[in-house]
């Protein structure tokens, strides 16, 4: 997969994750509550699982994204040094 597609896909996942947990509970709390009420399980369990999953996704995606960007930056620096 091309680097730009990887970065775009991971950034979209991170943005969606953070938007869901940062934007909806503060700006649209009714919508946020409705989502959890629509699900068949108890609200507390749903929220616990959602928050933990959200944190884990944000953590993994941001780590992988940083790693990819730093590696590609290093490669381009090395290529620049070789060309000189």
């Amino acid at each position: 997969m091309r680097l730009s597609i990887k970065v775009a896909a991971l950034s979209t996942i991170l943005a969606a994750d953070l938007t869901f947990f940062l934007f909806f509970p503060t700006r649209l709390p009714e919508f946020y509550d409705q989502i959890f009420q629509a699900l068949p399980w108890a609200n507390t369990l749903e929220m616990t699982v959602a928050v933990i999953l959200g944190l884990v996704i944000a953590l993994i995606v941001s780590f992988v994204l940083t790693r990819i960007i730093v590696k590609s930056l290093l490669k381009s620096i090395q290529r620049g040094n070789e060309n000189e």
Partner: protein
């Protein structure tokens, strides 16, 4: 019995000079390679740890307030998960920093210390001093990341760890000063020897 006349100071033999030059080049090359390998890894670790701290502190812990899971408050469960992840990142950073410091110490011994006349003891002294100083800086920064989360688990936990860090930092500073003072002693002995000739 008469003592044999003492020999005048000899110039370094060609083989000795070649081996010193080879050691100088080896240390210089290995240090540069090691530094180039460790820096990107440290950058990734630091950025990931800061992002984790930001996500945890600003997003996930505030929305977890008031939620309980089987009687346990969710913010404390999240705090525990974040602490473990932070500990993993900090350990990874420390391993990479150790490599980078060894490389920096090698470079310091080669470039600053005594060009083309580097001994393994000199490199070791620089390594001890730099390790000590950098470890103190990194552990202090890591404590700033951890302190909020530790205080959330138990208010006294943060204080106990801070006291342990202060005691350890004093020991590390003492080690660094001892290593540097032995280098200063060696240099001053050499200079005194030259001045008295």
């Amino acid at each position: 019995m008469a003592k044999p006349p003492s020999k005048p100071a000899e110039a370094p033999k060609p083989a000795e000079a070649t081996s010193k030059k080879a050691y100088h080049e080896k240390v210089s090359k290995e240090s540069k390679e090691s530094l180039m390998g460790a820096l990107p890894s440290i950058t990734v670790g630091v950025i990931a740890a800061i992002l984790l701290w930001l996500f945890g502190n600003l997003i996930f812990i505030p929305i977890a307030e008031g939620i309980e899971w089987f009687g346990y408050p969710l913010p404390q469960i999240l705090t525990f998960i974040i602490l473990i992840a932070l500990a993993v990142f900090v350990l990874k950073i420390l391993v990479d920093v150790r490599k980078a410091i060894d490389a920096l110490a090698g470079l310091a011994a080669v470039e600053i210390g005594a060009p083309a006349d580097v001994t393994p003891t000199e490199v070791e002294h620089y390594t001890t001093a730099m390790r000590g100083l950098f470890y103190i800086i990194i552990v202090s920064l890591a404590f700033l990341l951890f302190s909020d989360y530790l205080a959330r688990i138990h208010p006294a936990l943060s204080g106990v760890i801070l006291v342990a860090i202060v005691v350890w930092a004093i020991f590390e500073i003492w080690r660094a000063v001892t290593a540097i003072s032995s280098e200063i002693k060696r240099y001053s002995t050499e200079w005194a020897g030259k001045a008295l000739k």
